[in-house]
């Protein structure tokens, strides 16, 4: 499989802050590759380096077969970059923005319309409206259209779904899956761990370090302990009681239940007695399958 990106030993420091520490990964051509991590993890810095907008302090990156620092002119013709904050011209109309981006890359909207049709058709009825007066969802679609209009081989999307509701997020991922059919490699970042499952492969990033790079299913299956799901009427009390139990290793609220791991193989009568003493008579505890967020939490513990 040929590689769209090969990164080795990328480091970047701002003042006394190490934003990226020895970043090693590669992205296969045609895959959706996700960087999953919280604000401040280093995602945006890394994406600026991938987009040839920033130089690393150390390390090298080969993108579409070219060295990112030497071949940046050629590369920029083949990269579509959508930054995290909306950065189109607010005082130009939808149509003017799109035409502008097309002309900068020496192409026309007509020439590549097929590629953006699915996305742009949603906002085309508003083509005369100023970009500054679009809703969040519409801005997002315009920005994606502009990033695609020169038919890039690599699309770099920095947190396109942050702050977006769950319905619109699902829609956005559907658009990306359709783009994949046009042989475009997509690199995307997100703080929502549950979005990992939409990617072919993901890198979990925290504090400037990659904790794990793999298929999301493999990352999830890397969870090393037996995981239990606990429920009771009074969830907060249950949480505190589980935390006080001597054999407990980790306790986290997870949706409508609490995920807990123990140092003993299977919690037995002692645990029920412990919970009873804490005033919880209705606890139901059963083994459950770990999700990718469970693994993320486990990796965070190990890194501390």
């Amino acid at each position: 499989m040929s590689k769209a990106i090969e990164s080795s030993g990328i480091c970047k420091t701002f003042g006394d802050r190490q934003a990226l520490k020895d970043i090693i990964f590669d992205v296969n051509e045609g895959e959706i590759f996700g960087f999953i991590g919280p604000d401040g993890a280093g995602k945006t810095t890394l994406f600026r380096i991938i987009s040839t907008l920033m130089l690393p302090d150390r390390g090298s990156m080969t993108i579409l077969g070219l060295d990112s620092t030497k071949g940046y002119r050629k590369l920029r013709e083949n990269i579509g970059y959508m930054p995290g904050s909306f950065s189109l011209y607010l005082d130009l109309s939808v149509e003017e923005n799109l035409n502008f981006y097309a002309s900068v890359f020496g192409t026309t909207v007509e020439e590549n319309y097929e590629l953006i049709r699915d996305i742009y058709s949603h906002i085309e009825p508003f083509r005369k409206r100023l970009a500054g007066r679009l809703s969040g969802g519409m801005k997002q679609k315009l920005a994606l259209s502009c990033a695609l209009i020169h038919k890039p081989r690599l699309l770099v999307l920095d947190e396109p779904t942050t702050g977006v509701d769950t319905v619109s997020r699902t829609e956005f991922w559907e658009m990306l899956r359709k783009l994949k059919q046009h042989d475009i490699t997509i690199v995307i970042s997100t703080p929502y761990v549950d979005e990992a499952m939409n990617c072919d492969r993901v890198a979990l990033i925290q504090d400037g370090k990659l904790m794990s790079v793999d298929k999301p299913q493999n990352i999830r299956d890397g969870f090393s302990r037996k995981l239990f799901s606990a429920r009771a009427g009074d969830k907060y009390r249950l949480l505190l009681a589980l935390r006080n139990y001597p054999a407990t290793l980790s306790v986290f609220p997870f949706g409508d239940s609490i995920h807990v791991t123990f140092s003993e193989e299977t919690p037995g009568r002692e645990l029920s007695e412990h919970l009873l003493r804490a005033g919880i008579a209705d606890a139901v505890i059963s083994e459950t399958k770990a999700g990718i967020e469970d693994r993320f939490l486990e990796l965070m513990e190990k890194n501390e």
Partner: protein, 257 residues
């Protein structure tokens, strides 16, 4: 349910020109409850929160918050609530202590009380060593936890949290929710918005807004039963969708988007 009502809303309407942002909202929130306020982008949540926090006057309807009328006593409301949002929380160029002092002072606490509570807070968050550091030097997770503590520093009856966990890591997100549980169990009502549907499951009750209306309001488990859904996310996808885009377009046309 025999509980004290701390927010009472009846037929709340808010119009901007011809656009109806809040369309006859009616609901109660009880003391010590964790109330999740959900909805798609553009459904009208922000407008409702601005009214509930005394920042925006309703067009019509009855809104009582912490015993005060949102039309006639917005200043009283502001004094009796706490507020925190993801985007703005604390002053970056002040230290932790200075931020706490500033907020304590704004809410009219005396010096002695501020001092005592500051020390207690720094101990509780294990922040003592950070006390004299600038906010800008703190990692996001600590900032958000501190911002929440500051929002309840004056012991308000209700605290409004607008997407408090956006962008924070999974571990901090959970620690943050434990702080919410603790606050609610101390009797402070928590009114919270979030885009994380797993967090919606942590609430005692949730409401879901769509097109300016509340289309569902109940406990998470009851909603899941009613809509035959496995999770709150499924409930949300089933009912938060219809027409939502059009309302946003209308908002844009009216320049409110």
């Amino acid at each position: 349910m025999n509980r004290k009502t701390v927010i009472r809303v009846r037929d709340l309407v808010k119009k901007f020109g011809s656009f109806v942002a809040n369309d006859r909202l009616s609901f109660d929130v009880y003391e010590g409850e964790i109330f999740g306020f959900l909805g798609a982008n553009g459904a009208g949540k922000t407008t409702a929160i601005r009214i509930l926090t005394g920042l925006l006057e309703p067009t019509s309807g009855e809104v009582m918050v912490a015993g005060f009328d949102a039309c006639r006593q917005p200043e009283e409301i502001k004094r009796n609530i706490g507020y925190m949002c993801q985007k703005f929380s604390l002053y970056e160029d002040l230290t932790i202590r200075e931020n706490i002092m500033l907020y304590g002072g704004i809410y009219g606490l005396d010096r002695k009380t501020i001092k005592e509570r500051t020390e207690r807070l720094l101990d509780k968050l294990r922040f003592r060593e950070y006390g004299d550091r600038l906010i800008s030097a703190l990692p996001l997770g600590l900032k958000q936890k501190l911002a929440f503590s500051v929002a309840v520093f004056h012991e308000p009856r209700i605290v409004f949290l607008d997407e408090p966990t956006g962008g924070v890591d999974p571990l901090t997100r959970r620690q943050f929710w434990e702080m919410i549980y603790e606050t609610a169990s101390a009797g402070i009502t928590v009114f919270v918005t979030t885009h994380y549907m797993d967090e919606a499951e942590y609430c005692d009750r949730i409401s879901i807004m769509s097109d300016g209306r509340i289309v569902a309001l109940d406990t998470p488990s009851e909603l899941k039963r009613k809509y035959d859904a496995g999770s709150v996310e499924d409930v949300f996808v089933k009912i938060a969708r219809p027409g939502m885009k059009y309302s946003q377009e209308t908002a844009d046309i009216n320049g409110l988007g």
